[in-house]
Symmetry: C3
């Protein structure tokens, strides 16, 4: 008796052709959002070969503190070692492959395998392995390291042996902007994980435009203006008064930040480099301070060396998987983990001043209300889009004039895939 | 670091060989019921290129009323437009692909995308899309239409650009039989959706024989005779008295319908044409009127122009996915949606006279009792068969003499697949 | 409209290469634990062509008693026929393929298909099939038999038409060891099924070493010594006193069994033959009788012809899927069913003397406590390993000196796969 394994020949998708026929200014073809094969290509080319934002230093303040981060089937340990250096390792025992750390975060002395107690120091070196022959060389069996870098309290890893070298330039440019916020010593006030039933690229695309904000995000618009990449001629008459308020707030913010002596130059290198990013300022509406009711502060203590609560929103967009809002009184950090072609985890972390006391300086519900509501609204939009692009009736459509950061994300993605094809 | 994607070469199933070696008079080989590849072939060749029954006009009586219909990953909007014409469109926005209508049915003025509010009229034309450049031509971005036809109140769509042309002949033949029931103005009294864990072809095959009725469907046999395609010599001695009652009821029904001046010719073109169908009459047992206790009526108002409740059952079988029972006092409409290789949705809709009042003229439980019980019994049989054919120990077996409509369904299916292979 | 089925070419895994590059003394590469393709290869080569332990005779004591056993998509009926012979058949009707028996165990007169009542005797012959033409030959449509063998009350089947012939030698060697336990007439005291989210090979590998027992199995170590394949030089100083007690218990057990006139020769043919096995004795700690508190008996009646409760543990390990512990007062039988690449069912059956009365001679909780706890601990270890080996950061690691039965299992597996490749 033989079990017969049969499959019908399917016409293969020539990835080079699909990538090359991509129409500029249009959304991607369906397989980029739905196919297992392209998902695996993304894990390899995008998540396997680029710098991946994975945590803030605030999450692992003490020696022995760790988080584990999953990217598809990968699991990586980010740990602060005994010398307070941040290290990253594959979360796999070198003996028979058991997962070493099962929790998302915690604190350890050594890293001990639950199966046969192989024991590793937080620098990755193997210090104990029982019943091995005398020829066994412990030095050959340390944890497999993963490249890791930090920038102003933000932690990135790269699974590749040869990470993109332009990270240095990114780091040099961005760090001065982050230093005033002193995120290295910040405190995690809250963290949420939500799973969106959509491809990770739809989650990113949704983040890269505010065309949908006007109708979909009433809470967000109590503090933000519904403009992002809108030129003056884009603004419809009904929004003209709002736009004028926006321009005035922008001018005031520029004056404030310049007076404070903080760097002010914006940079938009979203699709021109491996470590694509954009750094820009957003003025706030209403009281103009933060995301409280009417634009009020949500934490009494301001971050780092900031003294004026009306300090706007310093926004950082990173390819492929993160975005950040740095406000005078708190920071909100967002990043995505792909789980499957049609599922993505979005982790949101709220950071406040290390001395801020819950219930005294801030209230968690008030601090997190706007982005919790906004995340959930975005989840619904991403899920409607996943449903739609999976429909064989879908054809890529044209981006509007205010969706050029979506286009930049897609351009970056297509370029990176293309360059991997050599 | 490179994620390595590996797979072992599997011997490919040459679809032409499998189709060509099909043994006449036998059930299909296992992959036709279990493989993802053949499921996708079915979506393409069977559901993508044939007329697919999807709704009754009674479900969308007013302008703006719609249903959405899923066929595998496809989603189609069936909507009555402002001119009361029935239209069908791909349920996908032409901008960035969001699903437009998320509910199974409802009523709209225009069709508005939830993402960026692109707005379409019920005739599919795009009337609003914000932030587009001046070169944008709205006429190019109407909803993608799907071919749609109605016959006597029954709605069919075809996803192909070139639908089978024999639908005209089918329509001409069948419509006169349906007109007396006046289904266009009928009222939906009840609708159920059940998911059967079996391939859609097993659901259809189960519908196409009553060999299993004798033991499995006690409720059904209070009204129907357990004969279908039984010739006189097929009838075992124990069933002889029942068979004689059946033949007498059949003769009486023919006389009644002829006296009423209704068309009487039966037609069985199940496997000889793309739009395969069978139209035939079934006499009823007991009181002979309908599916109530002892064969009594279940709705006081008779359909359309019918005046004699003892009007039998006009049965219509359609390839690939529907069957219908038209009785004097109600109609029951069944159709299947494939969900995956091993899952199929069966929707059952009960129609009554438009003026029939629930609780006065009919009781929903009494109206639906027989087919609810029968559907559930069939579900169990289909699921046992799916389990069995997925077992590598399964070999196709021979149909009995009373299963020739199953053979006709399988023949039709195999012919359609063959013809697609050119 | 055509649904396009596309896939990206993935580099194929050349199975011969992977098998040939396997490093001796190391765990297998990841695809052996995670890939659907290798899972299907395992179903074909390992489970489709070797003897598979599936039940004890005690589970089907009377004519008409049956169990159904699933191996991946296979389902097999094991039934005691009217002549008290044990038979095995494919659990599929020869008509249209319905699964015949839906329950895991039960008792039947004949085997009747639920769909159209085709009826088979317990010897597999077809005795009833309605509405077949006169040319129909019932003899051609009996149930498809599966090879089945019993050894001392243990039941094995083989799905292949040509089962490994070395089963005879295995049977001749092992049967004399089992006869004193008289398992044929034993009684099932308890049975549990647990699903471990790990590949079946990880479940087997975990069973084949006790390196992990010391830390993971406190309950087990109340009765057993944490040694298995430990040579004297393997024993660390902290365990030296325990090891001396172990050697003394081993000597006492040898004396007891020799005095009883029972066979004593051990045999370890784990990777040198298709029907790989190991038969050996394990002394017990504490009172030395069984798995009760402090090593006490857990059933008052001893099995078969055994008179001395301090009779140790006769252990039998079988490739590919079973292991057994035969004690003086009960036997525990373990076997695994692969469910998917990452899921395995482990069935555990406790057997006692046929006259033992629950609540009088034994208490189910006390009888099963040690192995229920141990099974659950092993489940957690297997699941941690499945998580780890699925991580692309996993590389095969070296077995320790006390894991040579794991190496033997893997060797056997690799040899069997290799030999199937010709």
């Amino acid at each position: 008796m033989t079990v017969t394994h049969t499959s019908i020949e399917k016409p293969s998708l020539d990835i080079a052709s699909v990538v090359n026929r991509r129409a500029a200014g249009h959304s991607l073809e369906a397989p980029f959002y739905t196919s297992q094969e392209i998902y695996e290509l993304d894990l390899d080319v995008i998540f396997g070969r680029h710098w991946f934002f994975c945590a803030t230093e605030a999450e692992i303040p003490e020696a022995g503190d760790y988080v584990t981060v999953n990217v598809g089937p990968h699991s990586v340990i980010i740990v602060r070692d005994d010398d307070e250096e941040i290290r990253a390792f594959r979360n796999v025992c070198r003996h028979r492959g058991a997962r070493l750390l099962d929790q998302g975060c915690g604190s350890v002395g050594n890293i001990v395998c639950p199966y046969h107690q192989w024991t590793y120091r937080t620098d990755g070196s193997l210090v104990f392995a029982e019943y091995q022959p005398s020829t066994f060389d412990r030095e050959q069996f340390g944890l497999r390291p993963v490249h890791v870098r930090t920038v102003g309290g933000l932690v990135f890893f790269c699974l590749s042996d040869e990470p993109p070298s332009d990270f240095d330039e990114f780091s040099r440019f961005v760090e001065p902007y982050l230093l005033p916020y002193d995120l290295r010593t910040a405190k995690v006030a809250h963290q949420t994980d939500i799973v969106e039933r959509g491809n990770w690229k739809l989650v990113m695309e949704n983040n890269r435009e505010c065309h949908h904000c006007d109708v979909s995000h009433p809470e967000l618009l109590t503090a933000y203006f519904p403009f992002n990449r809108h030129s003056e001629e884009d603004v419809p008459p009904r929004m003209r008064p709002l736009y004028e308020r926006y321009k005035a707030a922008e001018a005031a913010l520029t004056a404030t930040r310049t007076a404070a002596g903080f760097p002010q130059e914006e940079r938009r290198e979203l699709d021109s480099r491996p470590t694509g990013f954009q750094l820009f300022h957003l003025p706030l509406d209403g009281a103009g301070a933060s995301l409280g009711k009417g634009g009020e502060q949500v934490c009494k203590k301001l971050l780092g060396s900031i003294t004026d609560p009306k300090f706007g929103d310093l926004s950082l967009h990173m390819q492929p998987n993160a975005w950040f809002h740095f406000l005078s009184d708190h920071a909100v950090v967002f990043w995505v983990q792909p789980l499957s072609p049609g599922e993505t985890l979005v982790r949101t972390t709220w950071l406040v001043h290390p001395d801020a006391v819950e219930g005294v300086d801030y209230d968690v519900d008030a601090l997190t209300a706007v982005w919790k509501a906004t995340n959930d609204q975005d989840r619904a939009l991403v899920e409607a889009t996943q449903c739609g692009v999976a429909n064989p009736g879908y054809v890529p459509g044209p981006y509007s004039t205010v969706e050029d950061d979506v286009e930049a994300f897609v351009n970056w993605y297509v370029k990176r895939i293309r360059s991997s094809l050599g």
